[in-house]
């Protein structure tokens, strides 16, 4: 098993932390993982992206030119990464703010209106966890239980009361696909 994933959006949308939670979930499932962020000034407001690789064998390059799965959260990221999904791969996008829809027919394209769903959950910070839920429904590369254990490890203890809300968001994302 090897899954090469890119997550891209605006800085502040939770792109890097979503990738981090996914990587920790892989760790919990005893997979090899790499998490390679764009760490430039884009972290502070421009477009940010992160490459996460989960594999049951050692990982060579942390830098990739094509992906099994792309999660894109704004138009620039869609424009940049739609062509980089491998044939037969998966493209998940949030339709809010997207004017030019994806056009490829040789990949699975999944719209997930996580902006709307986060409003329903009354917490905009659940946004990335809804998308992670959707990603895991499309590509069940790690168990949801591993994600929750990963979350517990990455969240400081003072935020552990938010774990049930995060689980709710994950499950909502899964239902939306």
């Amino acid at each position: 098993m090897k899954e090469e994933i890119v997550i891209a959006g605006f800085g502040g949308q939770g792109v890097l932390s979503m990738g981090k939670i996914l990587a920790y979930a892989g760790l919990m499932d005893n997979l090899e993982v790499t998490w390679m962020p764009s760490y430039g000034p884009e972290q502070r407001g421009g477009t940010a992206n992160v490459t996460v690789i989960l594999s049951d064998s050692p990982i060579s390059s942390p830098v990739l030119d094509s992906f099994d799965t792309a999660v894109v959260l704004n138009q620039q990221s869609l424009d940049k990464f739609e062509s980089k999904v491998k044939p037969g791969g998966t493209l998940i996008y949030d339709p809010s703010g997207i004017h030019h829809l994806p056009t490829r027919t040789d990949i699975t394209v999944v719209p997930v209106d996580a902006t709307e769903a986060a409003i329903e959950l009354k917490n905009s910070k659940t946004y990335n966890m809804i998308l992670l839920g959707a990603l895991l429904k499309c590509r069940p590369v790690v168990e949801i239980d591993a994600v929750l254990r990963g979350l517990k490890k990455t969240l400081p203890e003072r935020h552990h009361h938010l774990l049930p809300l995060n689980e709710q968001a994950l499950r909502k994302g899964m239902e939306m696909v």
């Binding site: 981090k20 990587a23 760790l27 090899e32 993982v33 790499t34 998490w35 390679m36 962020p37 760490y39 430039g40 000034p41 990982i59 060579s60 390059s61 942390p62 830098v63 990739l64 030119d65 094509s66």
Partner: protein
């Protein structure tokens, strides 16, 4: 964890006595992690944010003179500032660990990954005839392991060691196994292991003096001959490298650090199409694996070096390969990182192979 965080954890667990640094992207997590872990409350390790890179390297110089295991870390522009101190450390035959998480230069440049400080790290950097032992990590695990290796080699040969990393391996997160916690050496142990150190006169007739100054040129030449003898011993004993798919290789890529992993992915793709390419990854950039390059040069039809610079390590590869095989270079600069597809294109262009 991130490669930079791994450096901090590994330093504490090695039983290091002191870290002196000044923040700069993309390595600030080293200092930040040390500040979070507060080792001064557990092992007694000193962690100090100096007023500048120059101050930090001179604190390292002072700490090293007393036989302590001390280190600093920075990124390219900051490491340039440290060069005077590094030359003094080498001239005074002091052990120390310097970490450079390279970013794109020259000048302040960019904060993105680079390998353009290869010349600076392996050919001197500061003034005078000296070498650092230069280790090139490709994984977060190696970022961890090379802290102990760097300190150990540095104490063994009384020569400063450098971990020459890049922004990729500093910023990326991977699985890592941390070594067990070692106690810091006691004052008595330091006195025994480092009889040259400035630890107070004690029962000695004269106190030790650590200095790089020697106005008698005959004596200074003797010092230089001793340094060179040490460098030859290091070259004989400490060359480290890793080979991938070289057994049947018809072409060879030489690359170091995280770039070697990008090349490995390209090689996997080329091999899937029947093109036999191998990879040599120097782990010690100085001493450079000359004999291995020479041996492989006699086996293959061509060599490509892939570096995040305009072509620096290629000079060492060409010197080692001689006339045995043509050597070409592919590189990106200024913080741009090539992907495996670009490496394949470079192979096609230089060796007219069908991939």
């Amino acid at each position: 964890m991130k490669g930079n965080e791994a450096i901090a954890h590994a330093a504490i667990r090695y039983g290091a006595d002191g870290y002196f640094g000044y923040p700069i992207t993309p390595q600030s997590e080293v200092l930040e992690t040390l500040a979070e872990l507060k080792p001064w409350e557990t092992t007694g390790m000193v962690v100090l944010q100096a007023e500048s890179e120059v101050a930090a390297i001179n604190m390292v110089y002072g700490g090293a003179a007393t036989g302590k295991a001390v280190m600093t870390s920075s990124s390219s522009p900051g490491v340039s500032l440290k060069q005077e101190g590094i030359s003094y450390l080498a001239a005074s035959e002091l052990p120390a660990l310097i970490v450079n998480v390279m970013r794109g230069g020259p000048g302040l440049g960019t904060i993105q990954p680079s390998q353009a400080d290869y010349f600076q790290a392996t050919k001197g950097g500061g003034h005078g005839d000296y070498h650092l032992i230069v280790l090139s990590p490709a994984t977060v695990q190696e970022m961890t392991d090379f802290v102990a290796l760097g300190f150990d080699l540095s104490f063994k040969y009384r020569t400063p060691a450098m971990i020459l990393a890049d922004g990729i391996v500093g910023q990326m997160m991977e699985k890592v196994v941390l070594p067990p916690q070692r106690p810091r050496r006691t004052e008595a142990e330091i006195r025994e292991q480092c009889p040259w150190a400035v630890t107070g006169r004690g029962s000695r007739a004269h106190g030790n003096v650590v200095t790089s100054l020697e106005l008698d040129s005959a004596k200074m030449e003797e010092n230089n001959l001793r340094f060179q003898q040490t460098y030859r011993t290091i070259e004989e004993n400490e060359v480290r490298f890793q080979e991938y798919f070289t057994d049947d290789a018809e072409y060879l890529i030489v690359a170091f650090g995280s770039v070697a992993r990008i090349c490995l992915k390209a090689i996997e793709e080329a091999r899937a199409k029947g093109v036999k390419i191998g990879l040599l990854r120097p782990i010690t950039l100085w001493p450079f694996p000359k004999a291995e390059v020479r041996r492989l040069a006699e086996q293959v039809k061509g060599i490509l070096t892939v570096e995040l610079n305009a072509g620096q390590m290629i000079e060492d590869v060409r010197l080692a390969a001689g006339e045995a095989a043509p050597v070409a270079h592919f590189g990106r600069m200024g913080g741009i990182v090539p992907n495996p597809g670009e490496v394949l294109e470079a192979l096609k262009e230089n060796f007219s192979v069908n991939i």
